[in-house]
């Protein structure tokens, strides 16, 4: 029987481990609220800058839509548009 799971990509594996072991606190480490600005550090000074929207066209032929591979009887698929990994596992 096949079972399908969705794997959401999160923090890097090593960082997750350090958070779990208490080296870094995940609580209150959230980024600033949804602002439209960023900080630029240049020549030892910090500037607040506004972001603008570009007019670039999306779509690169060099980016495959789907990447998949079978590992240990499970099929892993990464859909580049949704940035999610689905895992099809065979449960015997």
């Amino acid at each position: 029987m096949k079972k399908k799971y969705i794997y959401k990509i999160g923090f890097p594996h090593w960082l997750k481990e350090l958070i779990e072991k208490g080296k870094y606190d995940d609580v209150n480490q959230a980024s600033p609220k949804k602002t439209n600005s960023y900080k630029l550090i240049h020549r030892h000074r910090i500037y607040n800058k506004k972001l603008t929207v570009g007019r670039d066209i999306i779509g690169s032929k060099k980016l495959p839509k789907i990447i998949s591979k079978s590992i240990n009887n499970s099929k892993y698929t990464f859909r580049t548009a949704r940035r999610l990994i689905t895992i099809e596992r065979h449960n015997d």
């Binding site: 990509i9 630029l40 550090i41 590992i71």
Partner: protein
């Protein structure tokens, strides 16, 4: 002039992990007037000290999380404005989440591979499902990135086995700042044995426990002091700390520790990538004892470092050094090797040549 964006979401400054040491030093030394500019794009959290970041000579951009991960249109507009030609990611997760989206805007993607994460996961005994998913992410990164930079030929071969195309890969070594880590040589009178590392990291934690068991507790090095330099979990400090087995925590200036060190150890039995701690020891001219796995990926020979997989032999090596054993040639050879091959200046020039190859 080459312009590169270096993407990071994780603690950087003060440097407390090998990964952060690599990222910061590569950015520092890859900024060369009229040749290359590398800008740090950091997801803004309070893990990195902004004041320390502002003391650096390179340019940094601190982005809110929703821009870093989701609003790629705005991020891409900023990259265009800053004339960034390629984006580097240091872990598969960030590359798949952010790099994939940037590639849709025709950005070139580079993967700076500090570890083969699936191999590390396997070696530290994680569940098969965990290392399988990591292996898949590394495979997917290999299909998306245009350039992949493993830190040794050993890692390159592991990645080839996972299905990462060999033609996309170039070895970019880990390094050490040999001008900052000065050659001091061993302090024989101090009778101090050093282990350096982030002790939250399992391979380092296991190495410390082995040092405690086979070198300190076994009582074969009476009169010696063991120094563990690097952040460590509280429970571990409580369990193992004694006046002769001391945890220093985070050390801002390693030169001060090296001045008081007789011998350095790296008895690692797990891990991946290459051990920056060994490059630091050797740059300081400290006689170093390691395992084969500890020096995996580093082009070192028995003329530069003591090698033994049996940690029970380590007290014998230490006594030999203290009793005037011939280590002078060894530490000079090692210092020469790290200066010629592993200095960040040398590594950074190599990296820039790889970027040029990709962009031209």
């Amino acid at each position: 002039m080459i312009r590169i964006g270096y993407f990071n979401d994780g603690p950087l400054l003060p440097i407390k992990e090998g990964a952060a040491e690599k990222i910061i030093n590569l950015i520092r030394f890859q900024n060369i007037d009229n040749v290359s500019e590398v800008v740090l794009f950091d997801c803004e959290r309070s893990w990195t000290n902004t004041k320390l970041l502002s003391q650096e000579d390179f340019k940094s951009v601190l982005l809110p999380e929703h821009i870093f991960y989701e609003d790629t249109r705005k991020l891409n507009a900023l990259l265009r404005k800053m004339r960034i030609q390629a984006c580097i990611f240091t872990n598969p997760e960030n590359l798949l989440k952010v790099g994939t989206k940037l590639k849709r805007f025709h950005q070139k993607i580079i993967y700076d591979c500090h570890n083969v994460n699936s191999l590390l996961s396997k070696r530290i005994g994680e569940a098969r499902q965990t290392f399988d998913i990591i292996e898949f992410m590394e495979y997917a990164v290999g299909q998306i990135a245009e350039l992949i930079l493993p830190c040794s030929s050993v890692d390159l071969e592991h990645l080839v086995k996972l299905g990462v195309p060999r033609k996309k890969m170039r070895v970019l070594e880990n390094g050490v700042d040999t001008e900052k880590i000065k050659f001091v040589g061993p302090n024989i009178e101090a009778k101090a044995i050093l282990f350096l590392g982030n002790i939250f990291y399992q391979p380092n934690s296991n190495a410390v426990q082995n040092i405690y068991k086979y070198c300190y507790q076994a009582g074969r090095l009476k009169g010696f002091k063991f120094i563990i330099a690097g952040t460590a979990p509280k429970d571990m400090i409580v369990k193992y700390q004694t006046p002769e087995f001391e945890f220093l925590g985070y050390v801002p200036d390693l030169n001060k520790v090296f001045k008081k060190t007789t011998v350095a150890l790296a008895p690692l039995t797990e891990g991946s990538g290459t051990r920056i701690k060994i490059l630091n020891y050797l740059s300081a001219g400290i006689p170093t004892i390691t395992t084969k796995l500890g020096m995996e990926g580093l082009e070192l020979t028995p003329e530069e470092i003591f090698i033994s997989d049996d940690i029970q032999n380590y007290p014998k090596f230490v006594r030999k050094i203290v009793n005037g054993g011939s280590y002078e040639k060894l530490i000079l050879n090692a210092r020469r090797k790290v200066k010629e091959k592993y200095d960040w200046r040398v590594v950074s020039k190599k990296a820039i040549s790889y970027y040029s190859e990709l962009l031209n």
